[in-house]
């Protein structure tokens, strides 16, 4: 055995950082600026974002770009095919479909946004509690597993059966059906983060649990939450539209893509454009969110660093 560890002189052992390092002047990059770069170069994320930007802006600008009022009936212009004065045709009451799609976007996107916000806040809170304080874990997860056992549409229908038909209740139903996936994803991430040594180090410092969660756990589970929210946004819009299509969500005469497709179903033989264009809008928006979500997942995945 060696008599002792290698003895080094003081000048050798004192770590001397280079004094005039040009790196020292450049500002170090934050995590999010690196991620931003990866998102911009990701084709899927960018194309998804473009589709969404298009739909969000036409919905917001609907009052200015809609060529016709949405709820004025005109029986002389019923079932007009696309083209001419009515870009995408008219419906059974002679209302302009293009204008209704613009306004319907507001309802559909709002439903998605509200559902994701409600589900996100509740789901992330429950997920963090479940993952960080293990003694609540089994109770929370048992309930979530029961909820997860139902397809989200079926669950939403069941909730509406309790709450009653309507736009607000549809949003709540969609939100509740989206909570379990948030809880699962967040819990899993928190479980892996809480075992990291840097969490142990701040515990050893005596930092309170609340601060640890806020400052150390939450920022590190943010990426999966962002990805999930993007994908969940698409799903929520789809489920909300499906609810309206079944007559459980938005009620006529509210312009909503799902309910427009539902009304058009009765006239599918004569006026295919009544169902096709709202359906296309739903498809494109959901596609946009899925592309964005996939892109974000690739950009935020730590394994690709």
């Amino acid at each position: 055995m060696s008599s002792s560890a290698p003895k080094l002189t003081d000048s050798e052992t004192k770590f001397n950082p280079p004094q005039n390092n040009r790196d020292s002047e450049t500002k170090s990059k934050t995590y999010w600026s690196l991620v931003g770069k990866r998102i911009i170069t990701n084709k899927s994320a960018v194309s998804g974002a473009c589709i969404l930007l298009f739909f969000v802006s036409i919905s917001l600008l609907a009052p200015w770009i809609a060529p016709h009022p949405v709820d004025v009936m005109n029986f002389e212009q019923r079932f007009l095919p696309p083209g001419g004065q009515h870009f995408l045709g008219t419906d059974d009451f002679g209302r302009d479909i293009f204008s209704r799609i613009l306004y319907g976007g507001r309802v559909s996107l709002m439903m998605g946004l509200v559902a994701v916000l409600i589900a996100g806040v509740i789901g992330v809170t429950l997920g963090v509690i479940s993952g960080y304080y293990r003694r609540f874990d089994i109770y929370i997860m048992q309930v979530m597993d029961i909820l997860l056992a139902f397809p989200s549409l079926l669950l939403a229908i069941a909730i509406i059966a309790v709450l009653g038909v309507g736009l607000t209740n549809a949003m709540i139903a969609v939100a509740i059906s989206a909570i379990p996936s948030y809880v699962r994803v967040v819990r899993g991430s928190v479980l892996s983060i809480r075992e990291k040594e840097y969490i142990e180090a701040v515990k050893a410092l005596g930092v309170s649990d609340f601060k640890i969660i806020l400052k150390h756990v939450f920022p590190n589970v943010l990426s999966p939450i962002i990805v999930l929210s993007s994908l969940q946004f698409g799903t929520s819009i789809l489920v909300a539209a499906a609810l309206s299509f079944l007559g459980l969500g938005a009620q006529p005469p509210t312009p909503e893509w799902g309910s427009m497709a539902y009304v058009g179903k009765a006239f599918l033989g004569q006026a295919w454009w009544m169902s096709l264009f709202p359906g296309l809008a739903i498809m494109l928006v959901v596609l946009g969110f899925n592309l964005l979500g996939d892109g974000l997942r690739d950009a935020l995945d730590p394994r690709q660093k």
């Binding site: 060696s2 560890a5 052992t13 770590f15 170090s28």
Partner: protein, 332 residues
């Protein structure tokens, strides 16, 4: 050096093994099973042992990062295990830990300055932001880093530099005890020497007391004043460094010491002890002395009776039946 800083008495940390949802039967992994020692102010206690012998669990139990099952931990006259949450938080200022993996022990999302400032903020050191910043730069200087490192993120540092930051975080709150959990085993040999020397110079400067956990015997020999050898959750031998390395008594320590390679090929050791078998499963340790299935001096009594801690010489403890007075008498 005679003042006692920390006293650990019969510390036990058991981890329950889950036998499924319904089963009520409970088994335990006895990670730490009755460890007792005293730590003097200003000294360095090295704890060695192979993987899974409970070295790290001992360290973490002392800090109450893992809840010990039973035992007593007396730090500066106060029982750590009976403290309230508030009191424990205040006590954390006195005891800190340095981790093994410098890549996992720093939050990747925080700048070095925020990591260190958090330590200061938690214990109310430095009243204004400016004052805390000044303190952060001071601490960085102490561990051999520069002021411009303060605004960097952990991924911009090498392993050795990160370990310096880990040490900086530990000394930031002005502790008297630092538990170093294999702080150099993840580093290159040349960097190991730098970090070890940093530990030693900080000890001189700040009057720190260390519990230095390692599996590298030459590292332990270099840095420790006293050494404890652990095997399967128990402290089998505890002695002054020089005594431990010149005349190890416990058969396990003997075999550990003989396993260290000798750099000079001419002083070839003849009596290398090669142990057979593996470390037993800590969930189901052998009866009696846990080392007896692998011991070259195993007796009948070892298979049934757990050896007690015998003080062979002043300050030299060994847990082995070979050193019971009546057995020693028969041997001689």
């Amino acid at each position: 050096m005679s003042e006692i800083l920390l006293e650990v008495h019969n510390l036990k940390t058991y981890f329950p093994i889950n036998n499924g949802f319904i089963s009520k039967k409970k088994d335990f992994v006895k990670a730490v099973d009755g460890v007792t020692f005293k730590l003097f102010k200003g000294e360095t206690l090295g704890i060695v042992g192979e993987s899974g012998c409970g070295k790290s669990t001992t360290g973490r139990s002392i800090l109450k990062l893992i809840e010990p099952t039973s035992g007593e931990i007396i730090f500066e006259g106060r029982d750590v295990l009976s403290l309230s949450k508030q009191e424990l938080r205040r006590l954390r200022k006195q005891m800190q830990i340095v981790f093994q993996d410098p890549f996992a022990s720093l939050n990747p999302r925080l700048r070095i300055s925020s990591i260190l400032e958090e330590a200061l903020l938690t214990h109310g050191i430095g009243k204004s932001k400016k004052e805390r910043r000044q303190k952060v730069l001071e601490i960085l200087q102490m561990v051999g880093l520069n002021a411009f490192h303060a605004d960097r993120y952990p991924h911009e540092f090498s392993g050795g530099q990160r370990q310096r930051i880990g040490i900086a975080r530990a000394i930031a709150v002005g502790p008297s005890l630092i538990i170093a959990d294999e702080p150099v085993s993840a580093l290159d040999v040349s960097v190991q020497a730098q970090i070890l020397n940093l530990f030693q110079s900080l000890q001189k400067e700040l009057g720190l007391t260390y519990i230095f956990i390692a599996h590298d015997l030459s590292v332990v020999k270099h840095i420790s004043d006293r050494v404890g050898v652990m095997y399967l959750g128990r402290m089998v031998e505890f002695a002054d460094k020089n005594q431990m390395f010149s005349e190890p008594l416990h058969p396990y320590t003997k075999s550990l010491m003989s396993s260290v390679p000798v750099p000079n090929p001419e002083n070839k050791k003849k009596d290398r002890i090669i142990l057979t078998g593996d470390v037993p499963n800590p969930a189901n340790p052998p009866l009696g002395c846990t080392f007896h299935p692998r011991c070259f001096a195993c007796m009948e009594v070892c298979k049934t009776k757990n050896p007690r801690n015998i003080e062979v010489k002043p300050g030299h403890f060994v847990a082995c039946h070979l050193f019971e007075p009546e057995i020693m008498g028969v041997r001689d």
